[in-house]
Symmetry: C2
Subunit: 138 residues, 2 copies
DNA sequence: TCTAAACAAGACTTATTTAGTCCTCTTTTT
DNA sequence: AAAAAGAGGACTAAATAAGTCTTGTTTAGA
C-alpha cells in the first residue's frame, strides 16, 4: 500500500512552490530544485493545474504558481490530483467488486478509507518545515 | 494507494476461518467459500501461517484453523503478513530514498504511516458482521 | 508398510501498472 | 516574426502483481 512515485513528486513540487509563494516558477526551475525529471514534471503540473492547486501561465514569462496559500492546500488534495486513495477497490466504488453487495468486509474498507482520507487532509503545506530536499535549499 | 488483490483474499480467508472458529478447514473448502483461486490461496495461507495468524496441519485430516480467537486478530496483522503498509517508501525505511536525510516532507510521511497503521489495527475479526461474500453463506 | 489426502516450497509465466520519453501544437511576449 | 514558455497525446521500457506448475514432505488409516 504505497503512493506512486509521481505522487511523491507532486508533493515535493507543491512544497517547493509553497516556499516561493507569490513568485512564478518555470518547469526547469522546479525540476532542478525538487529533483523531479523535467518531462515527467510537466505532466504532473498539468494534473495539479486541472485540480486547481497550481495556476499555469503560458507563453514567454510563463510558468506556475500556487493557486492559494500553502495553508489552504492539504496532502489529500495533492494526492488525489494524481491518484485515488482507494485502500481497497470496493471502497472507492462498489461496482468494482461483484461481491460488494453481500460482502461482510466491504463496510470496513469504506470506514478505513474515510479515516485515512481524514489523516491526509489534516496535513497542509504551511505545516512543513522548510530546508531540505524538495525545498530547493538542500 | 491500494492493497493488493492477494491481501483482500487474505482478509476474506481469515474472515471465513473466523466464522468457523474451532474447526479445521481444508484449502478447497476455504477457496470455494471465500472465492479465492485455490492455488493462489495455498500460497496466501502459507504466509498467514508463518505470521502466526493461522495454524496448519499437514497430512490426511489436515487443513487450517485460526491460531487465536477472531477478536485477537486485527486487520493490520493480516495485511502486513502479505504486504508492508508503506504509504511512501521513505516511511517504511529511510534508506530507500537518498533524500530522506534532508527532505522536509519525510517526517510527515512517518507520522501519516503510523496513523494509518493505527486505523487498521483498530479493526478485528470479531467486529465483522457475518453473512455475505467472504463468509461462505452468501 | 503402502497409499491417498493433505500442506510446503520454489520456479515459472503472463497481465497490468508505473515511470517515464517523444513529438507536435498552442499561447504569449518582445 | 521569433523565441520562450506550457498542453496534450502517443509511445516505450521496467517493475510489480497475479496466478500456475511441478515436485516434495507429512500424516492417518487400511
Ligand atoms: S472487501 Fe469484499 S467487496 Fe471489497 S473488494 Fe474485497 S471482496 Fe470485494
Ligand atoms: S518524502 Fe522526501 S524522503 Fe520521502 S520519499 Fe519523498 S523525497 Fe524521499
Amino acid at each position: 500500500m504505497r503512493i506512486k512515485r509521481e505522487t511523491d513528486y507532486a508533493i515535493r513540487c507543491v512544497n517547493y512552490l509553497a516556499m516561493r509563494h507569490g513568485q512564478i516558477a518555470v518547469i526547469g526551475d522546479i525540476s532542478k530544485n525538487a529533483f523531479v525529471p523535467r518531462k515527467f514534471l510537466a505532466k504532473i503540473l498539468q494534473k495539479l493545474a486541472r485540480a486547481g492547486i497550481v495556476t499555469s501561465h503560458r507563453g514567454v514569462k510563463g510558468g506556475f504558481e500556487l493557486a492559494r496559500g500553502p495553508s489552504l492546500i492539504n496532502f489529500l488534495e495533492v494526492i488525489e490530483a494524481i491518484q485515488p486513495v482507494e485502500m481497497n477497490v470496493c471502497a472507492l466504488d462498489d461496482r468494482l467488486c461483484a461481491l460488494s453487495d453481500t460482502c461482510a468486509v466491504h463496510p470496513v474498507w469504506i470506514e478505513v478509507r474515510e479515516e485515512v482520507r481524514r489523516v491526509l487532509a489534516k496535513r497542509n503545506f504551511a505545516h512543513i518545515k522548510t530546508a531540505g530536499a524538495g525545498t530547493g535549499t538542500g
